[in-house]
């Protein structure tokens, strides 16, 4: 279960991806992933917003994470 990091999220974690399967307690849902990130990297709590994408689509808190999913942290976007 790979987690991709972009923009400031990459700076906060210090890596461009994390293998979530390596964690002692693997997050089962988007909500759990957000809790994990906030606990592990408190700087995420300072962001304007934090979204998660699963298989390159925005995913709500209730979405369950499956092995093989491509999961990405989407900090506040600022294109254009």
């Amino acid at each position: 279960m790979e987690l991709l990091l972009f923009g400031i999220a990459k700076d906060i974690v210090g890596e461009s991806n994390i293998d979530l399967s390596d964690q002692s307690s693997v997050p089962q849902s988007v909500a759990e992933l957000k809790l994990f990130l906030s606990a592990e990297y408190p700087d995420f709590q300072k962001l304007t917003s934090l979204a998660i994408a699963v298989n390159s689509e925005y995913a709500g808190d209730e979405v369950l994470l499956k092995s093989g999913d491509e999961i990405a942290i989407i900090p506040p976007v600022s294109g254009g």
Binding site: L47, P75, S78, G79, G80
Partner: protein, 140 residues
Amino acid sequence: MMQEPIIEIVDVLEVDGVYRELSDPLSGGICVFVGTVREFTNNEEVVSLEFETYKTMALKEMRKIADQAIAKWQLNKVVIRHAVGVKGVEEPVVVIGASSGHRDACFAACRYMIDTLKETVPIWKKEIFKNKTVWVSAHP
């Protein structure tokens, strides 16, 4: 009638060709918006901007925006093209274009597409100043 929208993320953004891409015998109006690197942000001199993207998702989100605009307004052609990498002052970073029978539709669609791109497309902009860098919009 409508052709596939042109949706791209590129390293070097060419603006001049976009008019030809939007030209259409059924169109009376073409509206193009070009976003460029401004020299000053809040009176601080910007050296450059650096853009990065989650490309597969960004292309999907850009396509959704184009499809929404096509469904809402009757558009004949649409282009959404964004640059990534380091861009200096005056360089273009995004080009949005729509062509339609009458001008109301292309103006409204062009405005909708750039506004929505800035809200939903996973592209991130870092402002590089002389003495610091800032991820735009990251913090309240």
